[in-house]
Subunit: 345 residues, 2 copies
């Protein structure tokens, strides 16, 4: 009997807690999930899309298993100017490399990087794509996966963005963080699909965006399985490109890693066009969005779409802008659609 | 007031339902999650591992995000004898191929396959690995992803295993289905890591095992992004190998697709050894298991480990058996550890 009373008492407490939770969920449902977004077409498009795809009985309902939303990272989730963070990682890894191999100090492109780091920022323009590939191979491959992960994490903890003097990981866009959370609370699986290095982004995506490593797709190289002297297995990063996760590589990477078409995709540059096309090309409800950097005051302004200054880093051409308008993709104006850009504002 | 009474009434019903659910969860917790497993060392190893890794405060506790369990498919989750299902798919796709390209009818290895399908099963021994690669390229690539998926699904619905005369998708091992569910109910993410084709296995893994496409890693080829005549984007399967997901390719594929080390892995042949080593090589609690096919009556018996008949399909060598004993990996005896093999028994 005591047992039953005890059970009932536990049950009552559990029910009371459940009732509180139910009320709190109800309260949350009333709260704006996107407080850093201004009321406007972009916010409206998101809220309508989420409502349409998650309401049972809606003609646009999407079963939970198919709720896949893919996000570019650089320029979409966090700042990419004046230079992609991973390029800064590559450049700032060169001194340690030169210390280990002094003969590189006088060899280009390593010598050029040493000049850049001494303060000659103009020298960055001298770096060609083959230069960057050579630097990437030298700083991102040839070491055990665990060693790379530890080095990347150390750099991320210490490195500072030149403008805000903050860790790069704090320069994420608050409205996008809210969007990621809102989607996940609505049963969406959120993925990063980045031109950046898959291993690099995976070292911080979980802590920074709540996105686990297995939901990060990026430019990926091969690894080789082997054993250390004690017989313990480990993987070595190889300079063998498996996936160039830019342009057409984005839908190809999505097929390789996810195996189904996203229903929502967000990007900010020409490298995201194919991902948006591929997402938009499926049946049923679709949401394709592009972030336009038109806010020089709070962040940066670049295009060259809509007369904004041209850039090589995260180019948003007028042709892409026109395609977005033609296809019904939503262009997010940082200036007009975002109430706040950063959490630290 | 009516509003409040109505709300309270709804709340009461909701609480009653919650109470029922709570009782049912409680009842389930008392039920054996692995009823098709005999009491013995394999079942004990699983139950202990799950308890150790999911009990808060346990020294072997694994945070939910890191609960990754990887399973080989052929011979581990379903029957692989007398021949891998996907090889049967490849062979049985040849007549349609020859119909489309009649000039292939007299060209090996296509002609050899036509003989096999006419009933000359002995001719299967004539097929070399390069033959199989040629057949795989001809039947698994060169078409849009959606076309392949539709063809594979059609075949899976119609094809029958020669011994049980059942669809291959019904020849999954009931104890392993229980294990997958038990792990998921314990907060584990279950993954397939198969030497079979990634796209092929993804067409049925969700329906058959409850494993979504994005948690299937397999031997994977590249795709090419393009547009149809109406401008709609699609992906074409290419005969370009990105990942040979066997042997060392398994840990390499796990790194590529998951990005962290599993805490549990299950296989049944030499092709799984590196996955088990890699899993076992991490810190903390680890469970590595191998299924030994030692039950000729209910399924098949092959090794050649432990004096079982040798086979080229799912080879389990004595060296692998000895390594398992040395490393403390659990060998699952189908004969002794499984009360039932199939759900239809």
């Amino acid at each position: 009997m005591m047992q039953i009373i005890h059970s009932l008492s536990t049950l009552t407490r559990s029910l009371a807690l459940t009732a509180l939770l139910a009320l709190s969920v109800h309260a949350n449902a009333q709260t704006d999930p996107l407080p850093s977004w201004n009321d406007g077409p972009a916010k409206q498009a998101i809220v309508t899309f989420v409502k349409d795809t998650t309401t049972q009985g809606s003609p646009k309902f999407v079963p939970p298993a198919e709720r896949i939303a893919t996000f570019d990272q650089d320029g979409t989730l966090w700042v990419e100017h004046p230079m992609y963070s991973q390029v800064m990682y590559i450049l700032e890894s060169v001194p340690a490399l030169v210390k280990a191999k002094p003969e590189l100090a006088k060899v280009a492109p390593f010598s050029t990087v040493l000049e850049i780091l001494k303060g000659d920022r103009a020298a960055i323009a001298k770096l060609t794509l083959p230069d960057l590939e050579k630097l990437a191979a030298a700083t991102l491959t040839g070491m055990p996966v665990d060693t790379f992960n530890a080095e990347a994490k150390k750099w991320l903890a210490e490195a500072r963005d030149p403008r805000w003097k903050k860790p790069y990981t704090e320069l994420t866009y608050l409205p996008m963080q809210e969007l990621l959370k809102y989607l996940r609370a609505s049963g969406y699986k959120t993925w990063i699909v980045t031109g950046g290095g898959q291993d690099f982004v995976r070292t911080y995506a979980e802590a920074v965006y709540g996105i686990p490593p297995e939901q990060v797709i990026g430019t990926a190289g091969g690894t080789t399985y082997g054993y250390d002297t004690s017989g313990k297995p480990f993987l070595t990063k190889e300079p063998k490109l498996l996936l160039n996760d830019n342009n057409a590589g984005k839908p190809e990477g999505i097929h390789l890693m996810i195996g189904r078409r996203p229903v929502m995709a967000v990007g900010n540059s020409t490298g995201d066009q194919q991902m948006l096309e591929y997402t938009h090309g499926g049946d049923g409800a679709r949401l394709s969005m592009l972030v336009l950097h038109d806010d020089a005051k709070r962040e940066y302004a670049y295009g060259p779409a809509q007369g904004l200054p041209a850039t090589k880093v995260g180019t948003f051409t007028q042709a892409l802008y026109d395609e977005a308008k033609k296809q019904g993709w939503t262009v997010i104006s940082m200036k007009n659609d975002w109430k706040k850009v950063f959490a630290f504002e």
